[in-house]
């Protein structure tokens, strides 16, 4: 349902926007992500829209709508993919707006009405990047409402107070909804002082997530669920081999298939539009697409490419002189190599888009982490202006980095234009597995030398990885030179034990013949697996307890102190034991990712020869916690996703095809594999919120490998352990 035009007439939005555009004081400039300053505005609109949100499309840069029913609808520039961003941001906004949580509703901002993210949703940055600007916006909005109420009630602002969506004072009161309904002109004031954390009512509360009810009741909130009247289905033929270039297709047989409306043959792809999903897929199988490939790849070829020493190297971290220590003739250098496989995203909702191309406007509904870039791509392909392309993002059935490039939107739009109808098109599961933007395989080499006292004198970490950030449309080529190396590939690869006198980390870049990209936590999982396994190996050589050995190598710098605190707390909470007992053993590991340190203890056993993770203790310090329940949920999910990768997951290349192509064959953790106990302890040693969604994926791999070593004496340096 869209905005009720009649009821809206009392509110002269046009006037407000006019004022907003000409007065400099009413533009609120904010910046977040890695984008330059982005200008935002606040608009109050007198009426609401009900779910599924379609909303007004003529308000530029809309953040908040106040409804007559005294609800505030927040148009969120970040997408909700399960990470709880909607809930956290709602709590932050409600805090400064002085409203109850039941009074705020969060919807995905449409590109038509405003504040779409100029970059992406990902990298565990959503809450951190909006922490200051969102509070400023909300506080400004509250101040606007207070002032409007003052004039409506004929009272001085100073005597009024805003609470639970009501402005009151001197025995009089008005709801926000009533204030907005009676208002014709707005002035945007200076941003008032933000609330004292001691007075927070919402921030820090373990509220249920705002989308809980919809998700439990099965509401149609995902891209896959979007519909438009007259919608038909499109199916695109996707390559099943590596490095395939489209070279045309024979479409004659497909054209005659039942239900087919049109076979759409383009320079770079071929697809078919039919009345139903089943008819489209059946017709697609009759298209004989031609592909050219240059070389036939096998897993062994890929493994041979991912080797430290090959490709271009960049030193990403350096302290002291590792070479001077490690290259001494007499030095007894300890070296170990670690490997990780190609990983698939395997999110359950396949990629797909509903596109409707009308004469001078395109409407797209899809699950994407990159609204802005998708819009650009579609506009460019159709020869339209960006403003003519409206993207209504939907809830994502999992993101994990898989939707940081969604060119399928462009294909759906091309097919819609060809038939003049709304076309929904999405990947089959096989196509997902074979056309994923994979987590690149890695090879890590660690070299260390211990002093006679058993302290690390020098430590070197070499990382060979396929691209993560490089090659992504999110990172223009020019920026590669500025950044100098692939931050994504070596994420988690820096040495965090700054008390080591000489350390160095080196990233070796390899370009693989298939797409590799972001995968939740990027290189953190594999790089921490290597470093933290090696720390245990060094501790053993030094004859020291793994926990105290780690602590010995931390300094009193703020970052090291935070890391030390999670390490100590995790060891204490888990009752960490260095030796196996009763057929069980514990493993320890820690990492710092994007300023958030995390330490974990995994407790494992072997049952009928199979590895079983019984308990994981996780101590995370993400700084200020907005919603402790959601942070815990992220830790639990990350831990089990990590277990899945460490125990089972791997893709292989056989005769140029990526395999497996289906769940099950691509083995993942199921309910039976999840630890029955996960204890999450949150420390808050920082006043601002930091990353949450990815950091807890760091330690889990090494924690398990270290536990297995204590249990069996076998040191695993390659995952998956059970693969």
């Amino acid at each position: 349902m869209s905005v009720n035009k009649e009821e809206k007439q009392g509110f002269s939005r046009r006037k407000f926007l006019l004022r907003a555009t000409i007065g400099t004081g009413v533009m609120l400039g904010i910046a977040y992500g890695s984008t330059p300053l982005i200008r935002r505005k606040i608009a109050g609109v007198a009426n609401s829209a009900e779910a599924p949100y379609q909303g007004p499309t003529d308000d530029p840069k809309l953040w908040f709508e106040v409804t007559a029913g005294n609800q505030i609808i927040m148009h969120c520039p970040k997408v909700e993919m399960g990470q709880g961003t909607f809930t956290g941001l709602a709590q932050i906004a409600a805090e400064e707006l002085e409203i109850g949580m039941e009074q705020i509703k969060v919807v995905h901002a449409s590109s038509a009405s405003g504040n779409i993210d100029q970059f992406a949703t990902g990298g565990s940055t959503s809450i951190a990047s909006l922490w200051v600007p969102l509070r400023q916006l909300a506080a400004t909005m509250r101040e606007m409402l207070l002032r409007a109420a003052a004039s409506q009630l004929n009272q001085p602002v100073a005597g009024l107070q805003a609470l639970n969506g009501v402005v009151s004072g001197n025995g009089k009161s008005l709801t926000y909804g009533a204030i907005v309904a009676a208002m014709t002109e707005w002035t945007v004031p200076e941003t008032p002082a933000l609330k004292d954390p001691a007075t927070y009512q919402h921030i820090g509360q373990p509220y249920p997530r705002v989308d809980l009810q919809d998700k439990v009741m099965g509401a149609p909130i995902f891209g896959m669920d979007a519909t438009l009247p007259g919608m038909v289905y499109g199916a695109v033929v996707r390559p099943h081999t590596i490095g395939a270039t489209f070279a045309g297709a024979d479409i004659s047989e497909a054209e005659g298939m039942p239900g087919v409306i049109k076979v759409v043959l383009e320079e770079d792809f071929v697809g078919v539009v039919a009345n139903s999903y089943v008819e489209a897929e059946n017709a697609k199988r009759k298209i004989k697409a031609r592909w050219t490939t240059e070389k036939v790849w096998q897993t062994a070829d890929i493994e041979a490419m991912i080797r430290v020493g090959q490709g271009k190297d960049v030193t990403i971290q350096k302290e002291g002189n590792t070479a001077a220590v490690l290259e001494q003739v007499s030095a007894s250098v300890i070296t170990a190599e670690y490997f990780s496989p190609i990983g698939a995203h395997a999110q359950i909702e396949p990629n797909g888009t509903l596109a409707y191309v009308e004469e001078d406007q395109v409407t797209l509904m899809l699950s994407t982490q990159v609204v802005k870039i998708t819009r650009q791509e579609v506009a460019e392909r159709l020869g339209l202006k960006e403003e003519q392309v409206i993207i209504q993002p939907t809830f994502l059935g999992g993101g994990f980095g898989r939707r940081l490039h969604t060119p399928n939107a462009m294909q759906a739009a091309v097919m819609s234009r060809a038939v003049g109808k709304p076309v929904k098109s999405f990947f089959t599961r096989k196509e997902e597995f074979q056309n994923d933007t994979f987590r690149p395989p890695t090879h890590n080499v660690l070299k260390g030398k211990l002093s006679p006292e058993g302290r690390i004198e020098a430590l070197e970490h070499h990382i060979s990885s396929g691209d993560v950030m490089y090659g992504s449309p999110l990172l223009p080529r020019i920026l590669q030179t500025v950044i100098g190396s692939d931050i994504g590939a070596w994420r988690g690869g820096m040495i965090q034990y700054h008390g080591i006198p000489n350390y160095r980390a080196v990233s070796w870049r390899v370009q693989l013949p298939f797409a590799t990209s972001w995968w939740r936590s990027l290189g953190l999982l594999a790089n921490t697996f290597a470093i933290e396994s090696f720390m245990d190996e060094l501790a053993e050589q030094a004859g020291k307890d793994p926990v105290s050995f780690r602590l010995e190598h931390l300094t009193d710098s703020p970052a090291d102190v935070r890391l030390a605190k999670v390490i100590q707390k995790a060891a204490e909470q888990a009752g960490y034991q260095n030796t196996a007992s009763n057929g069980r053993a514990m493993g320890f590991a820690a990492s710092t990712d994007a300023t958030t340190p995390c330490a974990q203890v995994a407790e494992v056993s072997l049952q009928d020869g199979k590895l079983k993770v019984h308990k994981v203790t996780c101590v995370l310090d993400p700084g200020l916690v907005i919603n402790p329940d959601q942070v815990r949920a992220q830790c639990e999910g990350a831990i089990i996703m990590g277990i899945s990768s460490i125990l089972y997951e791997k893709m292989e290349v056989e005769d140029n095809e990526l395999h497996p192509i289906i769940y099950g064959a691509y083995q993942m953790a199921l309910l039976k594999d999840a630890p029955k106990e996960i204890e999450v302890i949150l420390l808050e040693n920082d006043a601002t919120p930091g990353a949450v969604g990815e950091p807890p994926l760091g330690p889990i791999g090494a924690a398990i490998a270290n536990a297995v070593y204590r249990l069996t004496g076998k040191r695993h340096r390659r995952f998956p352990l059970e693969g």
């Binding site: 993919m81 399960g82 990470q83 709880g84 249920p208 997530r209 989308d211 809980l212 009810q213 919809d214 998700k215 439990v216 009741m217 099965g218 509401a219 149609p220 909130i221 995902f222 896959m224 669920d225 519909t227 139903s276 999903y277 089943v278 395997a346 999110q347 359950i348 909702e349 396949p350 809830f395 994502l396 059935g397 999992g398 993101g399 994990f400 999405f426 089959t428 599961r429 329940d629 949920a633 639990e636 999910g637 990350a638 831990i639 089990i640 996703m641 899945s644 289906i662 769940y663 099950g664 993942m668 953790a669 199921l670 309910l671 039976k672 594999d673 999840a674 630890p675 029955k676 996960i678």
Partner: protein, 155 residues
């Protein structure tokens, strides 16, 4: 050839090809989107619904087999304004993350509880074999035990 069955308590007739998957008839012809597509190969469980009370992966179940049967989807799990114990437990434990797999898990759980009212952990491990990429399994196990508890408590 049309196919007639009971959907969430009401008789319906669909025109879909009798050999096509029931999933698409439910999603597109009957416009109930709570039953999800994840793989189309009976491998993930996102499309789980009930056929005469039994959990069925509807992406791999032909429309013709539904003839005369009683089908329940997530939209019909709670009846007469009373929330189903499984959905109530899911709310209490705040299980969903992205939420996409959750209807399938709740339907699989509800069908299991109808047969095994007080499941052990082993029962759960054996019967609930859907895939959740957000890996919400830890809370799911708790929610399944809680749902059993709610069901077994006389109201």
């Amino acid at each position: 050839m049309p196919t007639t069955f009971i959907l969430n308590g009401r008789p319906v007739t669909v025109q879909a090809d009798p050999n096509s998957p029931l999933l698409w008839a439910i999603r597109d012809e009957l416009n109930l989107k709570g039953t999800k597509f994840g793989c189309g190969k009976a491998a993930c469980g996102a499309c789980t619904l009930h056929v005469d009370g039994k959990a069925v992966r509807s992406c791999s179940y032909a429309v013709k087999f539904a003839e005369g049967k009683s089908i329940t989807t997530i939209e019909g799990l709670s009846q007469e304004g009373k929330i189903h114990p499984v959905q109530q437990a899911w709310m209490e434990e705040i299980v969903p993350q992205c939420g996409y797999c959750q209807p399938g898990f709740m339907m699989a759980t509800a069908a299991m509880l109808a047969e095994i009212p007080d499941p052990t952990d082993e029962d759960i491990d054996r019967n609930i074999v859907n895939v959740c990429r957000c890996a919400t399994y830890y809370r799911m196990r708790k929610a399944i035990h809680r749902a059993a508890e709610i069901s077994n408590t006389p109201s």
